[in-house]
Structures are given as C-alpha cells and as structure tokens.
C-alpha cells in the first residue's frame, strides 16, 4: 500500500492536560439558523419569547438540514442577520440569558426501538459533524449504499486543538457507547477508531474500553497532517480509496468524529440536544490556554476574554485549527456547532509571495498527489479541460501545498479558485 504524503507540523498541544471546564454563562448568545451544510432553519421563536435550555428554536422541513436548540434560558432579544463564512446570510436568534438555566420540560431521553426511530432521534438532537465540516448526522447515517465499517475520527491532526483528545481521555466510555449505539441501530458489523500516535493516553484508554468488544478496533496512525482528513483516514485505516465524486458510503464506510459519537451517547441517555460543545482556546495571544464547555452561540470575545486574551493585541482570530480553520472578522460572532477551537494570534501575518520556482514541493506534500503548480497554470489560461485532467475536484483544501511552498504562494487558495472556475465552466 502506497504511503500517503503530508506535512509534519509543530503540535502546539498546550492544552492536552487542561481538563474541560464550563465557561461562566454569557450575558447574550447569538445563535445562527445555519451552522451546517444544507438548508438554513426558520426561527421558531419571536422577540420577547421566553426560552429554556434544550428548547428547539429553529427547524425546517428540508432533509439536508438539522434543527437548532438553545443552550441557555432567557428571553429572545431580537432576530437579526448573520453573515456566514461563504458570504451568504441567515437569520440569527439573539437571546439574553436569565442566569437560571431552566431546563425545557420536553427534554427527555428519546425512545428508540428501531433504525427509523434512531435516525429520527439523531435528527432531533441537532447533531452535525463536530470535526469541522458540520454535515447533518442523520443524513450521514442514512446512506443508500450498504455500509460495512464505521470509521471514527480521533486523529485530531490540527495543531493546538485538544477538544477531541479531552473527550477521549475524560470520558472514553461515552465514545465507546456512542460507537456501539451506531453499530447496533444501523447494523454495521465493525468499527475502527483512528488516533494519531501523539496521543498515547487516548489510545491506551480506548483500547482498554474496546477489550470486551471485538468488533471495535483501535488503529494508531502516524502523526502526519492531514491524518484526520476523511479520504486519508479511510485509506490509512481500511486501504480503501474514495474515488472522485464518491462519498465514503460508496466504499461502504461512514466516518464520524469521536466527539460526535460521544455526544450521541449523552443525547440518548439524557435527551439534551446539541446546545453546547467543548472547544480549545489557544494561540499566542491567549494567556491561559484551556478547554471550555460553551453554549453554542456564545460570542467569541466572551470565550477569549475568559482565557485571558487581550483582543486588541490580536491580529488574527480563528474558528478551528491553523491549517483549515476560518478567520473571524468580528469578535462578536458566535461559537458554532462545528467549532472545535477558537484561536487568537498576535503575529500571524501572511508572508509576501515570490515567483514559483517549480520545485514541486506542493506535489510531494499533497496527500492525494495532485499537481497544484499545474492547476495554477491551467487556471491562468482558463483551461477547464486541463483542470479536469488534473482532477482538480479531488482537492480537499488541507493546505499542505501552501504550507510547503518555499515561495510562500497562496497555493491552496488558488486550488479553490481553480475548483470554482472548473465548476462554473462545467455547469455552463
């Protein structure tokens, strides 16, 4: 089996020993009606409504979507507009907290008797992939193709982030229970949990948990970014190749994040939907790096202030890790379901780029052996046929090419432009 390439990064896992702790209740939360791939939800509440923890505040009839709940009790202040990272907008429910954290009376463990009721419960939980892509879980768990393996992503290959690691070490039994539930209700025969070797404690604890479950295998994966990328993970755990235009299910695989399955376990036990999540707060502008349990919708500035970050000195704020994370323009923006970290940096300037010297490092760094240098040339001459031959749509934007480029060119960014151009030509 060919070994996939990648880049070796400094881990910066400063928070690996920082136990998760709750963030003091924020005064205001701002909950966007779209935090997932798919249709945005419509608000179910209006200004001045009183809401309680776990109450559903947004939903839609669309299949490709997930309902939205509040993690605080209080009063709806206003319905405003949120600008998403893709430039589009969606409604946003702003709630002033009352500090009581009253639990919504309808919150109770779901009754599950078969696959249908399980999938319905997963949808009601509001779960979307917690690793970053935020794909609605009930959609992912209802593939048309037969699935023989559940792959659990515990790689956490991005620098700084340790929220998955804390989940695996603080409550490995939740991870295990979540995996068993999915295997059981979807009748999948086996599961593989992939973890990078730089997390020996997580590997040890989960191996212990899995001892009485022969259908669950723990795979130690080499510490090489992007080990946690879906295609890379599937290849390295099962040797299967997700072909161009395919979904993992086409190869008989469903991939879920460790934190997602652990959440499922908690939801099935308590009935409390996705209203809060664990995030790592770190970066060189953060004095006290930590792992915080925060209500979804908490303003980023509240999280950073708690971790001792002087926001005025920061020059870059990120949702997620430094390789694939998204830059935040407004510190009042909320923590989203998909955020596994909030990072703040004082000195993270984009370096000046110089001409390409044709060194080929973007090709050798690419886990999929794509040719970014040739894609850039094809894009410059607006050659969609050449982009097709270069398999541009395979690019997963992991950023290895940009990281490796000695000329400091925005290689991955150019790939994305090439993808957009190719798609616009194809749809003509």
């Amino acid at each position: 089996m060919k070994k996939l390439h990648g880049v070796r990064l400094s881990h910066h896992k400063h928070t690996e020993n920082s136990a998760s702790q709750p963030l003091p209740l924020p005064k205001l939360v701002r909950i966007p009606m779209s935090m997932h791939i798919g249709a945005p939800c419509t608000p179910l509440v209006k200004p001045k409504d009183t809401v309680a923890v776990g109450q559903k505040i947004g939903d839609t009839d669309a299949f490709m979507s997930a309902p939205i709940h509040t993690g605080v009790s209080g009063t709806v202040r206003a319905i405003t507009t949120y600008r998403m990272s893709n430039g589009r907008t969606c409604p946003m429910v702003e709630i002033e907290t009352d500090g009581k954290q009253t639990i919504f009376p309808e919150v109770k463990p779901p009754e599950i008797t078969n696959k249908q009721s399980f999938l319905a419960a997963v949808r009601e939980s509001g779960l979307t992939g917690m690793g970053g892509a935020s794909f609605p879980a009930h959609v992912k768990l209802s593939p048309k193709q037969p699935v023989d393996t559940l792959v659990i992503n515990g790689a956490e290959c991005e620098p700084y982030i340790t929220s998955d690691y804390r989940q695996m070490t603080e409550a490995p039994e939740e991870v295990m229970d979540g995996v068993l539930q999915v295997l059981n209700w979807l009748e999948i025969p086996k599961a593989i949990i992939g973890i990078e070797t730089n997390k020996p404690e997580a590997i040890r604890l989960l191996t212990e948990e899995a001892r009485s479950h022969p259908e669950i295998e723990i795979a130690s994966l080499s510490t090489l970014y992007p080990q946690g990328a879906e295609k890379v993970l599937i290849y390295n755990t099962l040797g299967r190749i997700v072909m161009e235009g395919q979904l993992p299910a086409d190869q008989g695989v469903i991939v879920m994040n460790v934190s997602s399955v652990a959440f499922l376990s908690r939801y099935l036990r308590t009935g409390m939907p996705m209203t809060q999540r664990l995030i790592t707060v770190d970066g060189d502008a953060v004095k006290n790096p930590c792992n915080l349990m925060v209500p979804i919708g908490t303003p980023v500035q509240d999280v950073l202030a708690f971790a001792g970050c002087d926001i005025d000195r920061a020059n870059k704020l990120l949702y997620g890790g430094p390789m694939m994370g998204m830059a935040i323009s407004d510190p009042a923006d909320p923590v989203l379901k998909s955020n596994n970290a909030i990072l703040a940096f004082e000195k993270l300037q984009s370096p000046k780029s110089s001409p390409c010297i044709h060194c080929g490092r973007c090709i050798t760094a690419c886990p999929l052996q794509l040719m970014p240098v040739e894609m850039a040339k094809a894009l410059r001459r607006k050659d969609a046929a050449a982009l097709e031959k270069l398999h541009v749509m395979l690019c997963m934007n992991c950023g290895c090419c940009t990281y490796a480029c000695p000329a400091k060119r925005p290689v991955a960014e150019t790939n994305q432009l090439a993808k957009a151009f190719y798609q616009s030509q194809k749809n003509k």
Partner: protein
C-alpha cells in the same frame, strides 16, 4: 471594537523553508568545490567565483531597476548563477570575458524571459556555452593544478604570461585520457574550477540530498545511464573497464548531475520526470563524447534536456489517489 483583524483563507501557518534559504543552501553545498578549486588553482579561483557572483547580482539589480520591477537580488538566485558559472570556467579566463558570461546568463537567459522561475534554460550552463562559442581558445586553456607555485606574485590579478608557462596543457584529462582515477577523484587534474574534484562535489551533492533540497532522481539517472552506456561501449569496443569510472569522474558530469540537472526551474517537476531527464542527459553526454567532435558533452546535454522539460512534464503527470481515468474520453474526442 477598535482593532481590525486579518481575514485570509487557510492555511494560516507556513513552513520555514524559503526560496532564499534553498539558494543559499545550494551555495553552501558548493563551498567544498570552491575550497578545492582554491587549493588546486590558487587564489585566482576564489577571485573568479567572487567576481562572477558580484557581476551576476549587479546585472540582476540593474535589469530589475531598468524594468521597474521589485528588486529581488536578496533571494540569492543571481548569486548562485554567478557562482555556478564561475565553477564552469578555467581559472585563467580573463575577467572581462567572465563578466560577459555572467551578464548574458542573468540578463538574457533569466531576466529577459521573466526572471526567477520563468527561464527555460539553466542560466549558468547557457552562459558557459555562450562563452565556449565566443572565446573557444580561452575557454579551453587549462592549467595543471598547483601551477601557481611556479608563478610570481602577480598571479592573482592577471592572467598575462600564462601562455609562456610550461604548466599549460591543451586539454582536460577527458580529452587527453592520461590521468589516474585517484587524481580524478580528488581533482588533481586540469579542468574548470569546480569540475575537477569529484570528492568536493560529492560532499556538497550528498549534503543537498540529505537535507532534501534536491532529490536523488536526476543525479542517479544521469550518472547511472552514462555508466551503463559507457560500460556497453567499452565492452563492445574491447577497451579497459576503468574507462567507466574515468568517464564519470572526468569532465563536468558530477557538477552537472548534482548542481545543474537538479535545478528546479529548468528540469521536470515529478520524480518520474526527473528520472527521464537524467537518462536523457546521460544518453546525450555519451553520444556527444563518443561520436561528436567535442570532447565534453555535459553542458550541451543538460541544455538540450532543458528544452525538452515542458514535454517531459506533460508525459509524467501524477495519478492522484482516487482519480478516475479521463484518458479514454480524451482519445475518442481527439
């Protein structure tokens, strides 16, 4: 909120390697060869290296000023071109001729084609070939190592009077075929500054391989294919087997294989492409040496292969993981 934040696409961190670092690492790797040249051919060798480096940097600076482009001489690429060209010159070459070579390499071969990354041929090699065709006599006047011991104090600044020395030899060992292998290996023979000591070049070349600045493909393919061809030729013509190592150690093959055939800009980008490039160089060097009128074919072979690089690149595209074949569709369309 007073502060403004940088908003840019991911990734937000970059590796430490820069173009400038790469260039200076290659120059560092050439230092053993420069030191060997200085020991063998005297301080004038060092002078020629510094002079060529300086003229090349100055040429690039003036070109960029004239063309109103960003000044990028600090990236080290012009300096590297000058140093490489110097190592391809005989120690006795008049400085003004060396300067013309540098100006041609940097101004014509590199800057006129768009500067760093845009030239299709290796500037140092093209500069050398230009000088060889322009000043054939001076470019093929080789002195024996340590010739300077028999000269007075004037040897640093001038090449006048060298014609009268009995140290002058008309040919490199490649042409005369009269050196022993050990002399060839350490460089105790006549030749260009940097090509005589295989040992010093190998030290630098292996250093570049180990730190990952160059890959093994082109050097191994070049030296390997040349060795195989020479072996077959020697066996077929009934010569002595020492002809094979002799062919590898004499002339500019080692310098070419490790420092010219590995130039990023003018050689193929994938490993497979680099292998093809190296084999092509080996084949052309062999053909020129054995069947053409010129004794040395290294520069010409690399230059010719530079021209084929875009085609090799097209033939050796990678097959990405998960890629569906589109070749069939294409052939039916065409």
């Amino acid at each position: 909120m007073a502060s403004l934040f940088t908003v840019s696409p991911s990734p937000h961190i970059r590796g430490n390697l820069t173009t400038q670092k790469i260039m200076f690492l290659v120059i560092l790797a050439l230092c053993p060869a420069i030191a060997a040249a200085t020991v063998l051919f005297g301080l004038r060798a060092m002078l020629l290296v510094v002079f060529c480096g300086g003229i090349s940097v100055l040429t690039e600076l003036i070109c960029q000023k004239l063309m109103k482009k960003d000044i990028t001489v600090s990236d080290g690429s012009a300096l590297l071109t000058g140093v490489l060209l110097a190592l391809n010159l005989p120690v006795t070459l008049p400085l003004w001729e060396a300067a013309i070579g540098c100006i041609f390499a940097v101004a014509v071969v590199k800057q006129l084609f768009g500067g760093l990354g845009c030239n299709f041929a290796n500037p140092a090699i093209t500069g050398r070939v230009f000088l060889l065709l322009s000043f054939a006599g001076d470019m093929t006047t080789w002195v024996k190592p340590f010739y300077y011991r028999s000269m007075g104090s004037g040897m640093l600044s001038s090449s006048a009077g060298i014609e009268n020395l009995d140290a002058v030899t008309g040919a490199t060992p490649l042409a005369s075929g009269d050196a022993d292998l050990l002399s060839l290996f350490v460089g105790n023979v006549g030749g260009s500054l940097g090509e005589t000591s295989a040992l010093a070049l190998l030290v630098g070349g292996v250093f570049l391989l180990l730190i990952g600045v160059i890959s093994y493909h082109a050097p191994v393919a070049y030296l390997g294919s040349l060795a195989v061809l020479e072996l077959i030729y020697t066996l077929a013509s009934g010569g002595e087997l020492t002809a094979v190592p002799y062919a590898l150690l004499s002339g500019g093959v080692i310098l070419g294989a490790f420092f010219m055939a590995t130039d990023y800009v003018t050689t193929p980008i994938t490993g497979k492409g680099k292998l093809l490039f190296g084999i092509g160089c080996g084949l052309l060097t062999f053909v020129i040496r054995e069947f053409a009128s010129m004794p040395e074919g290294c520069s010409f072979s690399i230059l010719l292969m530079n021209l084929l690089t875009p085609y090799i690149d097209r033939l050796t595209m990678t097959r990405p993981l998960g890629a569906k074949l589109v070749a069939k569709e294409e052939s039916t369309n065409g």
